[in-house]
């Protein structure tokens, strides 16, 4: 599963949000995209997920223009979980996950044993088997986000795109979700996630893409590219970068705030 952009430009009728971007998403990696608000990271992920059509340039999936695929054909290869999805009223968890099977259905082949297997596996994988018949609207924040992950897992794609999957979660559920993503990557999936938290990105990503002003300013393994200079140039934040005492990955310690004095 190779996905890449070639001179990709996307503008919402104004100045380009992503401009002339040529980028290869490395296969088999857990890629995280970081960058300041408005840098085009969400727009890029939507373009990769066949939600936004390029104004010029292309997104290539296995060497072919993504928009030359039929909708369902592309959705069997690439799954996208957008920011802040809303569940339909009255839907159960398993009903939600079942919607992830849509790309595998055709007019004649509507429901099969494969579907049941994929749904059961996705529920199992996200620890939701017991909650299969619960109303999606009544789940806690962490459970709800896992239900959405289960839906894209049921899609059975080699590539998962997650747009800010940890937003609106409290901190313990953020890490729970990131560990789930890491495990899914360990099982052989290519994962691309947009994230806000630099330290979390540096801890979990195997490949980091840093965006600013609609283009990629740095990419590579977190330990190589996260530096004081990068954070200052991209985010305008003065900081130290230290090795994380637990994982030895780069850890950003901002200078902002008062230095504590002994009482």
């Amino acid at each position: 599963m190779k996905i890449a952009t070639r001179n990709l430009t996307i503008s919402y009728g104004g100045a380009p949000v992503v401009g002339d971007l040529t980028l290869d998403i490395p296969e088999g990696e857990f890629t995280m995209i970081i960058g300041p608000n408005g840098c085009g990271k969400s727009t890029l992920v939507k373009a990769l997920g066949r939600v936004l059509k390029p104004d010029s340039g292309t997104v290539e999936l296995d060497g072919r223009d993504l928009w030359s695929y039929r909708g369902r054909e592309a959705a069997r290869k690439v799954a996208l979980l957008p920011q802040n999805p809303v569940a339909p009223e009255g839907i159960t968890v398993s009903g939600l996950v079942r919607r992830g099977r849509y790309p595998h259905h055709t007019l004649l082949r509507q429901w099969s044993r494969d579907d049941e297997g994929a749904i059961a596996a996705a529920l199992e994988r996200t620890g939701l088997s017991e909650l299969a018949d619960a109303q999606a609207g009544q789940l806690s924040g962490g459970q709800r986000q896992r239900a959405w992950i289960a839906m894209v897992l049921a899609q059975q794609t080699g590539l998962l795109l997650l747009d800010e999957p940890t937003t609106f979660l409290d901190i313990s559920h953020q890490y729970e979700l990131l560990e789930l993503c890491r495990d899914l990557h360990d099982e052989g999936r290519t994962i691309v996630a947009v994230l806000h938290d630099l330290n979390q990105a540096a801890r979990f990503a195997t490949h980091l893409i840093v965006m600013n002003g609609g283009t990629v300013v740095a990419q590579g393994p977190p330990s190589r590219i996260v530096t004081t200079e990068l954070v200052r140039d991209v985010f305008g934040l003065a900081c130290d970068v230290l090795p994380d005492p637990r994982t030895a990955t780069p850890m950003v310690v901002p200078h902002a705030g008062r230095v504590a004095t002994a009482p």
Binding site: V51, G71, R72, P85, E89, G90, R98, Y102, P103
Partner: protein, 330 residues
């Protein structure tokens, strides 16, 4: 054993609606001064009085009511799926009135030149084009949709009143039929019209139904799953316009069936999904019941059915407006 995920509850509700619809149909044929006895109904072929009632009086009227109700319910379900809001219904946003104006122009100003259904369709398309372009955001923002709909509704009503006044100066009944919708003195020709429209449109709706289910997840998820939400939306609006225009062509702009039927279906099942079949059945049941009330009400004049649906539906619209306003979606 593969457990095909058809909700048993939806099937049970559908069966219940069919039974009620049949009961309402029997009541329509048997109640009142010209009502038939059950023995008349079961003896075939009908003769004498029962022949007259079945073939000329209540038979076609009942068949038209069921067809128009189903078309309006389905049209409402499609529109509410597209706008993702209960208030985005064809009767609230001026589609029915636009079709009514088109029908009035065709039937009264150009009788025999322009077929009424064609006039209704042209009026419906014109009304939706007006709404679509005057909101500035298409069908996306429910608040704007309603405001634009009020304007289009007013224009449509004005056109109807002008046309009826110009042609049929003294006939209040003609005016109410074109403004509110009526099922008085329907013919088999009209029954055929609405059922042909239904039979032509329903296969396309069925083809679209899985995509409509996906649309409920929102544009981004639906697109990511390959369900092409934009194309689905266009197709749903076109089908809904044809259904509404067909209904208005034979019965006038009967209000609030399209608004209420999908909402009742949703509450009966408490399930997600566009509820297409159930909305059609509920719409048919509502209109047959409303027309039964119109025929049997203990008042000296027989009011057109549209006045009954307007009175009851108006209350429901008020309730919905308050609820949506509290939820902050307006």
């Amino acid at each position: 054993m593969i457990r095909v995920p058809i909700a048993r509850r939806a099937v049970a509700v559908a069966a219940g609606l069919v039974v009620l619809l049949l009961a309402a149909g029997v009541a329509t044929l048997t109640l009142g001064r010209l009502g038939l006895s059950l023995a008349d109904l079961t003896s075939w072929p009908p003769t004498g009085k029962s022949k007259f009632v079945l073939e000329r009086l209540r038979g076609p009227r009942l068949v038209v009511a069921a067809g128009v109700g189903a078309a309006l319910g389905l049209s409402g379900a499609l529109f509410q799926n597209v706008t993702r809001n209960p208030l985005g219904s064809p009767d609230v946003i001026g589609l029915s009135t636009g079709a009514g104006a088109g029908a009035a122009i065709a039937a009264l100003l150009f009788p025999g030149v322009v077929p009424t259904p064609a006039g209704a369709l042209a009026g419906a398309v014109a009304a939706m084009a007006l709404v679509y372009f005057s909101t500035g955001t298409g069908f996306r923002h429910p608040g704007r949709l309603i405001v634009a709909g009020i304007g289009v509704y007013a224009i449509g009503t004005a056109i109807i009143q002008y046309v009826v006044y110009a042609v049929e100066r003294d006939k209040a009944s003609v005016l109410t039929a074109y403004v509110n919708g009526s099922l008085n003195t329907r013919s088999w020709e009209q029954a055929a019209t609405i059922w042909v429209v239904l039979l032509a449109v329903v296969p396309f709706v069925m083809l679209l139904s899985r995509r409509l289910t996906m649309s409920e997840l929102g544009d981004e998820l639906a697109a990511g799953l390959g369900a092409e939400p934009q194309r689905t939306r266009v197709a749903a609006v076109v089908l809904a316009i044809v259904l509404s225009a067909g209904a208005v062509a034979v019965a006038g702009p009967i209000s609030f069936i399209a608004l209420t039927a999908p909402q009742i279906a949703r509450r009966l099942t408490r399930l997600p999904g566009p509820h297409l079949t159930l909305s059609a059945l509920t719409g048919a049941l509502l209109l047959v019941l409303a027309d039964l009330a119109a025929q049997q009400a203990p008042i000296p004049v027989s009011l057109p059915v549209g006045i009954y649906t307007l009175a009851l539906g108006g209350l429901y619209l008020g309730y919905l407006l308050i609820r949506e306003w509290k939820k902050g979606t307006l």
